[in-house]
Symmetry: C2
Subunit: 471 residues, 2 copies
């Protein structure tokens, strides 16, 4: 396993002037070649060094627009990189082989709310907050919450999850059907609104997590859930990370249907306090949320308090009103920005390992020892109920030694997670950063199967090429 290189392999495929002319002629001002627009579309939230931006950005407003862009790009064998809000963490949006950025953020209509079926169909540019605003009146909600206000298209493409996944699942479990523009510009549907189906290959889940490499997602149908009758949130501080993690393991093993259980280490609490003046105890903490009937929530909370107190957890702080809950969750949602601000000019290299729950403490504690010894500042948060956590190594992007140290830490962490039958990425995807890890994790045979699928569906290799694996 080689540590990923700081600069991805770049080879620019030619983008003929004739293609740009054709796009401009068809889309007018909605096809931009302005440098500032191209640069904005040629990066994401990852710490990769910049690569030359795409040659043009097309702002699609309909599935038909997407199909036309892809058809034109296919005619010229030019890469197409779908773009939502740019919140990817793994370099998915970088034009490493050149090409066209296809911005779907204007495709932001909620197409049909089927409250009586607990489903909703949206265009790919709808963000998760926008979706929850739109369905609020129905008494339903969409639970997948990756932190960023990402688009449903992007969340599908990266198989996103987040804080509620421990109870409600990830995009894998929550996408019912997609409309997809294929690499040849055809429009297909991958499923129906039925809750389950055994009708042929599961194209929906083949597309979910394919990171834009198999087609462009143009519609997403997802499940909704009734807003719980009662919701309660709590913060609990622990004497050590180990105590917090061992409490989590026991909560999960006992089958308590906790809706959220998030770890924040003491150092990250300090950063958040500095950023948002929250005045939280600067100790490792779990942020938890319970959903259910009033008595159900009470039962869950009592069981969890009992477990936590066995491990020295103390000072439960409860929140039952939406306002109080928002305050508690501010700590979690601000962690990334607080961390970035704690070291001006830094970039974060985020890890994303996920291990079977029984191995969580071992995986996490050894990695903390290594991170502390390295001297690199970091933040640490985790969807620990799923065995998933993130270090964010806060590096000076111009300091080669720091970058290498961070990569070595990540490398050691991934190796440890894989030895524990875990994965290198719970929710961020492979992108450019983890291609070597993917081979180590799944073996050449499985990656070669992925390559065969890619070649079959995208023979010209125009859909976001150079991501997940090299061909």
């Amino acid at each position: 396993m080689n540590a990923p290189t700081a600069l991805p392999l770049i080879f620019h495929r030619e983008v003929p002037t004739a293609l740009i002319d054709a796009l401009k002629s068809r889309f007018g001002e909605r096809c931009s070649t302005a440098l500032v627009v191209r640069e904005q579309h040629g990066r994401d939230e990852s710490a990769f060094a910049a690569v030359p931006p795409p040659s043009a950005v097309v702002f699609a407003e309909s599935t038909q627009d997407v199909a036309e862009v892809v058809s034109l790009a296919s005619a010229y064998s030019v890469p197409v990189i779908p773009f939502g809000v740019g919140s990817s963490l793994e370099g998915h949006l970088l034009a490493v082989q050149g090409g066209i950025s296809l911005d779907v953020s204007r495709m932001n209509q909620v197409l049909s709310i089927n409250a009586e079926d607990l489903t909703v169909t949206v265009q790919p540019g709808v963000t998760r907050k926008q979706l929850n605003e739109a369905v609020k009146f129905t008494g339903l909600f969409f639970p997948v919450d990756p932190g960023a206000d990402a688009t449903l298209g992007g969340m599908s493409a990266t198989r996103a999850s987040g804080t509620n996944a421990v109870r409600y699942g990830t995009m894998r479990e929550n996408v019912l059907a997609l409309e997809v523009v294929t690499a040849s510009g055809d429009i297909i549907r991958t499923g129906t609104r039925a809750k389950k189906s055994a009708a042929g290959y599961d194209l929906t889940r083949l597309m979910v997590g394919s990171e834009g490499t198999l087609g462009v997602i143009t519609e997403v149908t997802v499940k909704l859930y009734p807003l719980p009758e009662a919701t309660s949130a709590a913060i609990c501080s622990f004497p050590s990370i180990e105590a917090a993690v061992r409490s989590t393991i026991q909560i999960i093993q006992m089958g308590i249907p906790i809706a959220r259980v998030e770890l924040i280490d003491a150092n990250t609490v300090r950063m958040v306090n500095a950023y948002a003046k929250l005045g939280l105890r600067e100790e490792p903490m779990l942020l938890m949320e319970f959903h259910g009937s009033p008595t159900g929530v009470k039962e869950q909370a009592e069981s969890v308090q009992e477990i936590a107190s066995e491990f020295g957890g103390n000072s439960f702080e409860w929140a039952t009103t939406p306002e109080e809950r928002t305050r508690l969750w501010t700590a979690r949602h601000n962690a990334y920005f607080a961390a970035i601000q704690s070291r001006p000019g830094c970039r974060s290299i985020s890890t994303d390992t996920c291990v079977p729950i029984s191995r969580l403490a071992d995986c996490l504690l050894d990695s903390i020892v290594e991170a502390d010894a390295s001297g690199i500042p970091y933040f640490l948060v985790g969807h620990v109920g799923d065995g998933n956590f993130h270090f964010g190594y806060l590096i000076d992007p111009d300091n080669r030694a720091e970058r290498e140290t961070a990569e070595q830490l990540n490398h050691a962490l991934v190796s440890r997670a894989l030895s524990m039958e875990g994965t290198c990425t719970g929710e961020h995807g492979i992108g450019l950063h983890k291609m070597d890890f993917l081979v180590t994790e799944t073996g050449d045979g499985a990656v070669n199967m992925m390559r065969a699928l890619k070649r079959a569906l995208d023979p010209k290799n125009i859909m976001n090429p150079g991501k997940i694996f090299t061909l």
Copy 2:
């Protein structure tokens, strides 16, 4: 949309003597060419007319055995049909293009129980009852229950679900990882034991539901769940099917986490009473099960009773001990056999539509009117909490007119379900029976994408060819 033909298209590909000789030389008595063994492996529970059986049956005892059989078959371009216990309902096991049956039922070891992670890894020949026996001591259970005591390999291959799916999901949600022998005889792993992952294409879910057409499943890792602290089961009779179904719709829309909610129509209750002397009221009924804490179960049951009584549901019969629950569930589990015995010599043509929950009553009631008008006897059961139900048309297999009438009824039902944004198959798969329906449901574009995937992974078309779609 054409009604499927009674006899699938048959063209036998040659099975060279040299291949049979090689298999006999390698596997000795574990390669059988006895007619009785071949015939037993050339049929399933579907009502298809028999086709000539496979040329040989190989009993594999290890992944290595499977890889060797597939490699040999590949060398001779001969079809391989994986076989578990033969409980398929859609003709999956019929050797429509000839070939070799690969029986994995002797690969029946539970390989590792990871109770602390709520996972278990088994060989493909392990059946669901065997699995639940094996994990009983851990206080955990595996919920997917398709009725038949199917193998985990077969259940994965057909994306099975059943009575518990309304709460615990289907094989789609419960398989974490697979080991698969590919069409070239390579052995790959499709995932890890991590609860979630964003590591590349979701090969696990591509294989789940691929009906043996993309490879042979040789290991299955699935999720387990803590046995609920309290379990309660109930039967409730209703004045009409509509009342039972409208109650179900409301239970689901309110988000009550019911573990099972099964419909049995009055006619089927009569058949079950005759078969098993249960003395149940011969009215439409719902069989329900609640899992949770004692108070949670009580709350769920109270809410459901309130809903049911609004629709005229009466005479709740409760069962809380395992023995009483088993008696109640006998009605559901015996429905198929009771129905078959109600008309000696008959075969059942099973429907499997699944629709969004709000359309369930419309879809079901109109289809009952049609079935009653046809004069064909039938049974009717349903996993109605998922919008999924099964008519079993009980035909005389030698009566061409009856078969055609049953196919017409199914055809009308599927058309209705598709017009309601549902699917032709919730859990049985496409097999031979629903290939035309698949095209209507998903469109040529999606089926052509499936064909492209098949050609990419199985260029010689040797893995269970002629199922799901024709190439």
